[in-house]
Symmetry: C2
Subunit: 349 residues, 2 copies
DNA sequence: CTGAAAGCGCTTACAG
DNA sequence: CTGAAAGCGCTTACAG
């Protein structure tokens, strides 16, 4: 199995110029589609380009023109379907706009995030889309990104001690999503509704709780403090916390869960205690992960269209490139409720 | 909310050189860690680097040195968790080796694949990892990639009319995986085992069928041609084909499914016909998608460690960069069987 | 140990 | 309409 030995030396503008007896400048103009070039000359050049199998060296062009044709995309965890879909959407929109995506994966570690950002910036992206690792700090991020590269922060709030908004932001409408879920449960007739899971100090938990509390207040219902139950946002921890729901009497008949992972854990916990989720206890999730539609019972949840968010993030950063000096924007993406069997009416007493 | 206006003009080597009264050459040597530089000079330069907030322009360096610090990673569909995990693994290993990942997503379209490859190549990656879109053609791919950029083809065979192996290949051990699944079912006591799903002309179907047939042969069992059932590799089509399993009498008591999607569809089809998968019919999948562990019954399947494959692909392409002239390699990654409830013993008659 | 000079592959005023 | 020349930000022999 012989390997075709690559011919070294790639073909450059100079080779083409020489090959059809024009200057490099003329070849460059042809390449960039300038109307100045005589059509006969253009044809000759284009033929030679094809004949020699020329491939454009965009890095060299970018250096000379002081432009960039890449955007950095840094996510916490590509293995998480939410971020994978987000990346797919962003890449799609960036590619369509002629940019290539420089990928970075932080694995939720602020240290790796610093390393990734530092490395990315050296490659000179026109902008960076960042979904910050948990616990990252705005100052450190900005130190790595520098003042020259526009930054769009997605999904999580990045602590901004400085106070001036030095980056664009894209978040989903956590508050509204939780409100929708809560109103849905109330509409089914529930009166004692808990908010289950998540740590209070997370910005998204705080936003979702706010939506829940608002809906309860608007319905004229008092919230028992014991109905606000914390847990790590994982299936296992949520299952462990199930008991806390039934510490009070009367106990809640329904729960708005922080996210789908928590909701799936709660389902498990309920089942272990002999309760039947979707029959004698109602619950909702947040995210609409793939599993939500196939678990038993299927999970009512708030869908956030991660692919659409990815596209949106690309649009926002590209827009920023065109208007470097306008005020930074804080964009909130809509969410919608997907009703499935897990949100049942209250069991008749 | 005023936006901090970015100071234009980034700081360059020349700024640093001027700032501490040395030549650009010396600054460059410091940057690249040359031992030639006097330690006092080095310290001065490093201080100035920090003071001015210098960021290395890797593109310029790459141009001058005729090197590259990026690798293209082109996958069919980032939204598919398998490829997302693969990308995460590849990116992790590439980042560790000092490369940045140029992402490309083809959405399973050979046309987009050509566009993506053409664009990527202009950014001068040191190599490309490609999971080909279904129906892509080796000649076209190679025309876009060119002879200068090493190519690693992952997951699917790329038709190679030429016959000389012009790219490295990484595949998972489809044959062995299907053999493991088949042997497992035989070990449980099944004698009439079908191979269910997938199109015969797909290379991975062909490989998996070979493993199944080998295990049957080794067990001294004849395979009824009616046990080889084709279907599109989707859940819906698989569900529709369920009837074909029971066209013969006696019917199979178990099926090795082409992949998890097919297996999940078959479960659905069985249930619709009043059969209980995992109780009166045994089946296995392939891939170990997230759903496999949570469906009812949980699915026995062949796990392929996509993240590990991603890392491996990175290692292979980096290895190729170091040895451009050695023969191309055909690497087969191991798989393992994950036993769950869907593979039950045959129902006693 | 340090600097002057040439050059990576492009683009862009500026002449003509 | 086309070419000569300068330059993007680096690196690397080559002198000294």
């Amino acid at each position: 199995m012989p390997r075709t030995t690559p011919q070294h030396r790639k073909v450059t503008l100079a080779d083409i110029a020489q090959g059809c007896d024009v200057s490099r400048a003329t070849v460059s103009l042809v390449l960039r589609g300038s109307p100045l070039v005589n059509s006969a000359t253009r044809a000759r050049v284009e033929a030679e380009l094809k004949r020699q199998g020329y491939v454009y060296n965009r890095a060299a062009a970018n250096l000379r023109r002081r432009t960039s044709s890449s955007i950095g995309l840094v996510v916490n965890d590509l293995g998480n379907p939410f971020f994978a879909e987000f990346a797919a959407g962003a890449d799609e929109a960036l590619a369509r706009a002629g940019y290539v995506t420089l990928l970075g994966n932080t694995g939720e570690s602020p240290e790796r995030q610093q390393a990734v950002l530092t490395s990315l910036v050296e490659h000179g992206p026109a902008g960076i889309i960042l979904s910050p690792a948990e616990g990252s700090d705005g100052e450190r991020v900005l130190a790595a990104v520098g003042m020259h590269t526009p930054l769009l922060v997605f999904n999580r709030e990045l602590p901004d001690d400085d106070g001036t908004h030095r980056w664009d932001t894209l978040e989903m409408d956590n508050e509204h999503g939780a409100r929708l879920a809560t109103e849905h449960l109330l509409g089914l007739g529930h009166r004692r509704v808990a908010f289950f899971g998540g740590h209070r100090d997370s910005s998204s938990v705080e936003q979702r709780r706010r939506g829940y509390l608002g809906a309860m207040r608007d319905a004229g219902l008092a919230v028992d403090p014991g109905w606000l139950i914390e847990s790590a946002p994982t299936r296992l921890e949520a299952a462990r916390q199930t008991g806390a729901l039934f510490a009070r009497d009367p106990a809640p008949t329904a729960a708005v869960c922080y996210n789908d992972a928590v909701a799936l854990g709660l389902m498990l916990g309920l089942t272990r205690r002999g309760r039947r989720p979707g029959e004698d206890f109602a619950l909702t999730g947040f995210d609409d992960v793939a599993e939500a539609s196939v678990c038993v019972p299927p999970l009512t949840t708030v869908a956030v269209d991660p692919r659409g968010l990815g596209r949106r993030s690309a649009e926002l950063i590209l827009q920023r490139l065109g208007n470097p000096d306008t005020d930074t924007a804080y964009t909130i993406a809509p969410v919608r409720l997907v009703v499935r069997e897990s949100s049942c009416p209250p069991a008749s007493p």
